[in-house]
């Protein structure tokens, strides 16, 4: 099972995980990653993080990565929920959950999906701080990380 949602609404990690586990009784390992809006950028307090998407393309790209991960790592199930719009510090941005017979596959597939979300999925982050706003730039470490999956 692959589930992908791109939404403004908050999600409840517990409900999502319960639904994923109920959907297929497989045992094994479940890895989740939850990304949260940070409170500080160095000494500067963050007021909000606004995510812009490309409606249509964003869902399509995220869904492709989720299916690729399911194939490549032989997952039982894979869930990606990614929010957009204006979020406050501490709010969840993204939830990735992967379920596999072996823990290594669950860990690697969750990393794989996150590395691709960071560098290939059409989301753009605008951070508003006490000292003004800025569009966040792509991180070179993230680019190296995603390349390593396709070396």
């Amino acid at each position: 099972m692959v589930t992908v949602r791109v939404q403004t609404a908050p999600f409840d990690q517990a409900n999502e995980i319960d639904a994923l586990l109920d959907s297929q009784k497989g045992g094994g390992g479940l890895v989740t990653f939850q990304g949260l809006v940070r409170m500080k950028n160095g000494p500067v307090s963050i007021r909000s993080l606004t995510l812009e998407i490309y409606p249509g393309m964003t869902e399509r790209v995220v869904s492709r990565f989720a299916h690729e991960a399911k194939e490549r790592f032989h997952l039982d199930a894979c869930l990606v929920i990614h929010r957009y719009g204006r979020l406050l510090p501490g709010e969840p941005i993204v939830l990735v959950a992967t379920h596999a017979p072996h823990r290594q596959a669950a860990f690697e597939s969750a990393c794989y999906i996150m590395d691709h979300l960071k560098t290939r999925a059409p989301f753009w982050k605008y951070e508003e701080t006490d000292r003004g706003g800025r569009w966040i730039e792509q991180n070179s470490a993230d680019i190296d990380a995603v390349r390593s999956w396709h070396a």
Binding site: Y54, G56, V94, K118, T119, P122, W124, I136, E137, Q138
Partner: protein, 83 residues
Amino acid sequence: MTVVYFAWVREQVGSGREEFPLPDDVTTLDGLLDWLTHKSPGHKQALSDRNGLRFAVNLDYADPQSPISDKDEIAIFPPVTGG
């Protein structure tokens, strides 16, 4: 054709979406970018560093060399920062 812009490209262009007929002599994404550069100072600023931009044709990532047609939706945006 339709051209859509996102993030600071959208801000500098001053619009998220433009629709117009495929300009004469434009056959590739690169050619479209050349043409858009002359549309306004905002377009020129936004498109000045093409290496710093990413492109899609009909919801798929595309190179500047990609052929384009009047029915296409072209997207121009900065490197993405999801996750």
